[in-house]
């Protein structure tokens, strides 16, 4: 899952980035509205964390322009807590609204909920065959036994399972699993996929040559 944080307060940006990377998200950052809008328009993020008070272009402006081209889920962050501000945020097209100061666990839970809702899931648990994935606990079990996965492998599996039954292109996988700082080697994906096949069964992930990967639901 790839997330964009648009936040001008450097210390807050740093801690958010740290927390989200710890959670296995690929994180991009922008320190002002214009840069943030540019990134948000060019890459299909899974979620955008958007501050309201921003230099150059404020959060409302970013949201308004972004909604013309993309439906990316947006969670707004602001220190303004009047209900008028919240209503305005949600009406402008924000999917959720969190008032500063916030608790990181709550922010992470809201992000997971946003991602889940976008892919049509209603619970944190996705089961396909004998493989079960819990997005809250970030754990995967096969026939009841815990499967050890690296963060990258978990991210790949989560993305494929959330898009079960669909063919996910390699480009989409690269876009959603790696951030700007990652050096993306072209065969990295194949390595991850073959590792997961060893752990979850050879037929769990099918390869559509020339298209991408797929987990049959």
């Amino acid at each position: 899952m790839r997330i964009l944080i648009i936040e001008d307060e450097p210390d807050l940006l740093r801690s958010l980035t740290m927390a989200l990377r710890d959670e296995g998200y690929a994180v991009d950052t922008a320190a002002n509205g214009e840069d943030g809008l540019f990134s948000a328009e060019s890459i299909a993020y899974d979620v955008i964390l958007l501050d309201v008070m921003l230099p150059k272009l404020d959060g409302w402006g970013v949201l308004q322009r972004l909604r013309k081209t993309r439906k990316t889920p947006v969670l707004m962050l602001t220190a303004r807590d009047t209900s008028r501000d919240r209503v305005r945020g949600l009406d402008t097209g924000a999917d959720d609204y969190l008032v500063k100061p916030f608790d990181l666990p709550e922010l992470l839970a809201r992000l997971r909920a946003l991602i889940r809702r976008t892919s049509g899931q209603t619970t944190t648990r996705i089961e396909i065959g004998e493989v079960a994935l819990d997005t809250a606990a970030r754990s995967v079990t096969r026939a009841g036994a815990l499967v050890e996965l690296t963060a990258r492998e978990y991210g790949l599996l989560e993305y494929l399972m959330l898009h079960r039954g669909q063919v996910v292109t390699r480009t989409a996988l690269y876009e959603h699993l790696f951030d700007e700082d990652d050096s993306t080697l072209s065969n990295l994906l194949d390595v991850h996929v073959s590792n997961m096949r060893k752990k979850l069964g050879h037929d769990f992930i099918t390869t559509r040559r020339g298209h991408g990967y797929c987990i049959e639901g």
Binding site: D11, L12, S15, M18, A19, K56, T82, K100, F102
Partner: protein, 510 residues
């Protein structure tokens, strides 16, 4: 309770005045009519007094009648033989005119009584008889002799008509007896003649008039009261509107206004004045709300930093460098909160007027020099040159607070400058004020932000970047301090670029 209502008081006064006018008018009209009626009756009586007086004459020898029959009507009837005689010129018996004199010099009375003048004969002139006759004729007469005995009376005279008390003057006198009006006159010899009539019909018609007047008065009063009520209601209605609007505003709806349509009168002016007051109240309230929202926003941001930093870092084991970074971020946030709370407290004290300012004679240029010394490292760091033109400038004030203003303006000028730019600072006396000018060659302030630059938490740069470490309150504090000194602070951005802050303080030199 009811008398506290303006409408009721208006109505009461209005009704009272109207009633007084109506009563006065009605009473006067009634009295006039009454006097008129009496006057008319008196004239009628006067007209009849003359003929009765004429009828009183000395009886001539050979003449009969008159005295023998005390009933007056016989007199006229008994004397047709002498009809027309008395007034004919050349008549040998001059009766009319001055019968009294004749009576005295004439032959002695026929029936003399103990030294009294002889009783006269009374005969009403023949063509005057109609004056007291007829079914509906209300007039009557009575004639008494000097001794009080009755000489003659008309048939219509009531039996209880008594002789009035003697008065010497021989002029007609009026008296009222019950509902009868009587006119009497004493002749010089002492006879008394009296004519009268009942004025019952007149009194009845006067009563009717009084009734009509009262009824009309009541109708006018009711109409007047109704009209007054309507007028008062109309006049009061805007007051009701005003009070309703004020109640709505007091209830919390600050954006409500009094409807001032169709009211160009005094109440309309009042409503306009109140509306502008309400608008200012609403503005002050909105500014206060904005200030609270801004202050909470400014305090929440560093708290958010500390919370997220610590929570993210504590989520798992970190290396010492990461811990260090987290602690540094928390320190920055804490310092930011300290600056903010200090600024807020300073402003609150200045607002409350608790900040007791010292009023000493100080040299402004000296204070500027001290501030410059403190800020020199910052300026050198940013390669800013400082040009100072510091003439000795006396003013009355608190050097510590003024130093705060000066260092605030100077650090703003240094921080919002082009690199390798310059800052010019000038102090001089001008007229009765001490002048401090701080000018920079920075990018300046957009024209639309200039008027609001001294507002609390207002930033020309809409984001609250912590880069400059400002709280957004610096200029507001400067303005509050200068205002507490009785001075003024202005900002301008010349077309040539840069920003110029000008502070004027009272020099205290008279």
């Amino acid at each position: 309770m009811i008398f506290r209502s303006i409408r009721w008081r208006l109505q009461l006064w209005h009704g009272f005045i109207l009633l007084a006018v109506l009563v006065g008018f009605g009473f006067t009209a009634y009295r006039l009519q009454y006097a008129n009626e009496l006057h008319r009756v008196d004239q009628e009586l006067q007209q009849r007094l003359g003929p009765v007086l004429e009828g009183l004459r000395r009886p001539l020898p050979g003449e009969r009648g008159g005295p023998g029959g005390p009933g007056g009507p016989e007199g006229p009837r008994g004397g047709p033989n002498g009809a027309g005689g008395p007034r004919r010129p050349g008549d040998p018996r001059p009766i009319d005119g001055a019968p009294d004199d004749r009576g005295r010099r004439g032959p002695p009375p026929r029936e003399a009584g103990g030294g009294f003048p002889a009783p006269r004969e009374f005969r009403l002139g023949p063509n005057r008889a109609g004056l007291f006759e007829g079914e509906i004729n209300p007039f009557y007469y009575v004639v008494w002799l000097r001794d009080g005995s009755e000489l003659s009376r008309s048939a219509s005279a009531a039996s209880d008509v008594s002789r009035p008390d003697f008065i010497r003057r021989p002029v007609p006198t009026v008296r009222m007896r019950g509902t009868t009006r009587e006119l009497y006159q004493f002749t010089p010899p002492g006879e008394c003649i009296l004519v009268g009539r009942s004025i019952g019909p007149e009194l009845a018609s006067l009563r009717r008039l009084a009734l009509v007047l009262s009824a009309l008065g009541c109708i006018v009063l009711v109409l007047g009261l109704a009209g007054g009520w309507w007028l008062a209601t109309r006049a009061i209605r805007p007051i009701g509107d005003i009070s309703a609007a004020a109640a709505t505003i007091a209830g919390g709806n600050l954006s409500h206004r009094i409807n001032t349509e169709n009211t160009d009168d005094e109440l309309g002016e009042l409503a306009a004045v109140l509306n502008s007051t309400f608008a200012r109240l609403e503005g002050a309230f909105a500014r206060q709300q904005q200030f609270t929202a801004d202050a909470s926003h400014e305090l929440r941001t560093p708290i958010a930093v500390i919370l997220s930093q610590t929570q993210a870092t504590l989520a798992r084991e970190r290396n010492p460098l990461e811990y260090r970074e987290t602690l540094e971020a928390c320190q920055r946030a804490a310092q930011r909160m300290r600056r903010l709370t200090e600024s807020l407290l300073a402003l609150a004290r200045l607002d409350a007027g608790q900040e007791s300012l010292k009023r000493e004679r100080i040299d402004l240029s000296q204070t500027v020099r001290e501030s410059l010394e403190l800020l020199r490292p910052l300026a050198e760091d940013r390669h800013i040159r400082i040009h100072s033109e510091l003439a000795t400038t006396e003013c009355l004030g608190d050097s510590e607070r003024l130093a705060q203003v000066i260092s605030n303006l100077l650090s703003n000028a240094i921080l919002h400058n082009t690199s390798d730019g310059e800052v010019r600072v000038v102090t001089r006396s001008e007229n009765d004020s001490a002048l401090l000018v701080v000018a920079d060659k920075g990018p300046g302030i957009p024209a639309e932000d200039l008027p609001r630059i001294f507002e609390r938490f207002y930033r020309a740069d809409k984001s609250r970047t912590g880069a400059t470490g400002g709280t957004g309150l610096g200029l507001a504090i400067c303005k509050a301090i200068v205002a507490a000194h009785g001075g003024s602070i202005d900002v301008s951005c010349p077309v040539s670029g840069g920003t110029i802050f000008t502070v004027r303080l009272p020099s205290g030199v008279r």
